[in-house]
């Protein structure tokens, strides 16, 4: 925990950037109100940084929620930095392995809901440093939202096309799109944003504009509004911080925590950074575990077929299994899925090896029979880490001789 005092420079910056919220008078339309009468609130930063589905995932959310409960902060700031697409589009240097995992949308829904529900007594706000892709929907799960001056808040790319490409039947395709987007819109509803905005974030063909009504903004699902936000029919809407603030999507712009806390009406605050440490450690650990898994799978592929080799292989697979159990997010990674590395497959391999070892021991004792599975495969083949068997065993009675 560290005590922070906002520097004068930050104060002036904040004053220039904000739409204005009087000191000590900020409050949320929903959720717990900001504390009043507290000159130096305890601020817990709840980091959401990295890949959606792995770095930003259920296990770390659970840890952070528990930690936040223990720390009893006055304010919870969810800091989001997760973008699928690089800022320099023409380089096309984005790593597909690091794209947010869209298929985990129900998990994201449950994650953000759990922060709302379990920490409902603590005033919460979202601070977007960068959010492009499915993370953009997560950003909108909080009603009070701030952005960094260079932050992007962008929607999904090719999601609808992805779903539609899997289904040729018109009705089934529409059903699948409706089901998925219905769930996605749930996140946006959590932040009390209208469906029109959610649609523009999800569907590339939707356009978006806004009309101003008094101090409020009304979103329009076409380009007839006063301010046309997105006239493109081939990409989802994306907001830059200044625009987001001008059209009242964001509540303000802040480039540092100091600025942000000032915008909330506090000159001093006490930073609780245990969440940042936990999240950093978690990301480092699971990524290290994934590297280890790659190495262990490589090594397993080079083992011999004798008892010693099988024993070594089994031991390596057990390490892989243990890592997969400790960090379940690893098997969600694209490269792990492509390689077929997952808990069920590895358990199957270990099981087969145990049986093979026993058979070899029996054979060594002269107890030879007709058995033998050919299992306990070595994993690697053709440069991948695919185990020799599929995820799930197939059951066929005619296979039982």
């Amino acid at each position: 925990m560290k005590n922070c005092t906002i520097a004068a420079l930050s104060l002036s910056l904040a004053a220039g950037l904000t739409t204005g919220s009087a000191l000590g008078q900020s409050s949320f339309d929903t959720g717990a109100p900001l504390p009043t009468g507290v000159t130096s609130p305890k601020v817990y930063v709840f980091p959401m940084e990295g890949q959606m589905g792995t770095d930003i995932s259920e296990p770390i959310f659970k840890k952070l929620i528990e930690d936040a409960k223990r720390q009893k902060p006055d304010i919870l700031i969810l800091r989001l930095k997760s973008a699928d697409i690089d800022r320099i589009n023409h380089l096309r240097n984005d790593d597909p392995n690091e794209f947010g995992l869209v298929g985990e949308i129900t998990t994201y829904r449950d994650m953000v809901k759990s922060v709302h529900d379990e920490l409902m007594d603590i005033p919460q706000l979202m601070w977007v440093e960068d959010a492009v892709g499915v993370s953009g929907l997560a950003a909108l799960a909080w009603e009070r939202m701030y952005m960094s001056s260079d932050a992007r808040l962008g929607g999904l790319h090719q999601f609808k096309e992805m779903v539609e490409s899997q289904w040729s039947d018109d009705d089934v395709r529409a059903k699948m799109v409706a089901a998925w987007t219905g769930i996605m819109k749930g996140l946006v509803q959590l932040g009390r944003y209208p469906e029109t905005l959610a649609d523009a974030m999800i569907f590339t063909e939707r356009t978006l504009s806004v009309n101003f009504e008094g101090r409020g903004a009304k979103w329009v699902p076409d380009t007839s509004g006063t301010w046309v936000v997105d006239s493109s029919e081939d990409r989802a809407v994306s907001f830059q911080a200044p625009v987001a603030e001008n059209i009242l999507l964001s509540d303000g712009t802040a480039d540092s925590l100091d600025d942000l806390v000032f915008l909330l009406g506090y000159r001093d605050y006490t930073l609780i950074d245990t969440g940042e440490k936990l999240a950093k450690q978690y990301s480092d650990d699971w990524r290290k575990a994934m590297d280890n898994i790659r190495e262990w799978m490589e090594e397993a592929s080079e083992t011999d077929e004798d008892i010693a080799g099988l024993g070594r292989r089994r031991s390596l697979y057990e390490k892989v299994l243990s890592a997969l159990k400790a960090y379940p997010v690893v098997e969600k990674r694209r490269e792990m899925q492509q390689a077929g590395v997952n808990k069920i497959a590895i358990e199957g391999l270990i099981d087969d090896i145990k049986k093979d070892i026993q058979r070899q021991r029996d054979a060594a004792k002269g107890n030879r029979g007709s058995g033998g599975s050919g299992g306990g495969g070595r994993g690697l083949g053709g440069g991948g880490v695919r185990p020799p068997r599929g995820d799930l065993p197939e059951f066929a009675l005619d296979g039982m001789k």
Binding site: T106, D170, A174, A178
Partner: protein
């Protein structure tokens, strides 16, 4: 998110849960008579057996679902829920209609009229804005309403089953009619055959109890299930819809589709909503829009002439919390059981949430997960049995198959529908017999 046409075996028998300490509540007075408080506070005495004619607020001319007048015999007067249940008769069919006191603008009891706007009748007592008094009366009697909340989670027919609905119904029945059952729906859809059973059960259950859907995720068959409920509440993240039925990758069509559209429309209408909402969830073609006037009255259109479009010819309908509330499809939005109780006009002093629904859910999910884990290992043991020679391997196979047979009894949907599928129990039993025969032959040969 698929609805598959397939067969389904019920477990052998429904087992009642271990007895839980529940106080037996007496609802006789609550269920049979009460001084009800209608729209603007007028009090009217209503007894079970009274013939009533009720005019409801908030209905619109074009809403087939929410007709303005309810006529029939009072079956129950629910003091805590502030509702009356009226048995109506239409085309030779009896149907229970639930009417909230606050929705009643005019009520005629045994031919005597009472109206919020009209001169009070002989049965009406002068009072306004005094609805609290009946709350207090309930509390004073020391009776707490039991609310059965049951998470209904997973694929319909596998994780979210008809069986658990029967179990929670049996628990509610123990306390007599008029209980509150909340299905907390978290499901991506599932099996049509399960939907058929749910349809039958919920139609009956609604006659005895107040059945509420609380939506987190009600897709496809789960949406169909939820549409049976006259009261639907959403979580803020909630969504409902996408009831398209398909097999393989192809949606149903022709007469089959027509029948399904009609069925979903009927269920939606039966529960007091415009049938067009349900129909727009089934297939792309039906259009849907609505108007909402200043008083909050909603008018539905099966065209796009309404101010608010919900589904065009290329879209399948799902509803989220805000729109559902705006168009009065939803009765409210609640994220926690406490918030839900508040929407039901209940609180800690007037109601208690029974743990039984949660226990029923937990028990089934545990069984299902245990079966999933065991099944994969057992299939491996069947396909690659332990042992170095025939006898040992056959023995291992028999052991694994017998365990699978036992799981067929404990958790049939997991074996039948969850991947990888397992052959039917009868085939497994036959295989065990064959393996035993083979084993005996080997042993005979060895002895000989």
């Amino acid at each position: 998110m698929s609805i598959r046409k397939t067969t389904f075996r019920l477990p052998r028998q429904l087992a009642l849960l271990a007895a839980c300490a529940l106080s037996i509540l007496v609802f006789a007075a609550d269920l049979r008579a009460a001084e009800i408080v209608i729209a603007d506070g007028t009090k009217v005495e209503v007894n079970a057996g009274n013939k009533v004619r009720i005019s409801k607020a908030g209905a619109s001319a074009s809403s087939k679902a929410s007709g303005e007048t309810v006529e029939g015999t009072v079956k129950f007067v629910l003091g805590d829920a502030k509702e009356i249940i009226v048995e109506t008769r239409k085309a030779g069919r009896t149907r229970d209609v639930r009417v909230r006191w606050s929705d009643i603008t005019e009520i005629e009891v045994d031919g005597v009229a009472s109206s919020a706007k009209s001169t009070r009748s002989s049965t009406a007592t002068a009072a306004k804005g005094d609805a609290k008094s009946s709350d207090t009366a309930t509390t004073d009697e020391g009776q707490k309403k039991t609310v059965f909340i049951m998470p209904w989670e997973g694929t319909v027919g596998i994780g979210a089953r008809h069986d658990e609905i029967l179990k929670i119904a049996a628990e509610a029945d123990k306390l007599g009619p008029g209980q509150i059952i909340v299905l907390q729906v978290i499901s991506p859809g599932g099996l049509v055959i399960e939907g058929d059973k749910i349809d039958e059960t919920l139609m009956e259950l609604k006659k005895r109890h107040r059945v509420i859907a609380w939506i987190k995720e009600a897709i496809s068959a789960a949406a169909f299930t939820s549409l049976h409920c006259e009261e639907i509440y959403f979580m803020r993240v909630g969504t409902i819809g996408a009831i398209t039925m398909f097999s393989g990758t192809k949606s149903i069509e022709g007469a089959e589709l027509e029948a399904w559209v009609k069925k979903v429309g009927d269920v939606t209408e039966e529960s007091g909503r415009s049938r067009w909402i349900g129909e727009a969830m089934v297939t792309n073609a039906p259009l849907l829009s609505y108007d909402r006037d200043e008083d909050g009255n909603v008018t539905w259109y099966n065209t796009l002439e309404g101010e608010y479009d919900l589904s065009n010819a290329d879209e399948n309908l799902t509803l989220n919390a805000d729109v559902a509330l705006h168009c009065k499809f939803s009765d409210g939005t609640a994220d926690t059981p406490e918030q839900l109780l508040a929407l039901l006009h209940l609180d800690e002093s007037t109601a208690e949430i029974s743990p039984i629904g949660f226990k029923i859910h937990e028990n089934w999910q545990k069984t299902l997960n245990a079966c999933l884990d065991a099944k994969i290992k057992l299939i491996r043991d069947v396909m690659n049995p332990a042992g170095s020679e025939d006898v040992a391997q056959i023995g291992s196979r028999i052991k694994a198959i017998n365990e699978l047979i036992a799981w067929w009894d404990r958790c049939p949907p997991c074996l039948q529908y969850e991947s990888p599928p397992v052959p039917p129990k009868e085939e497994l039993e036959k295989e065990v017999k064959n393996l035993r025969k083979t084993l005996a032959e080997i042993q005979r040969r060895r002895r000989g």
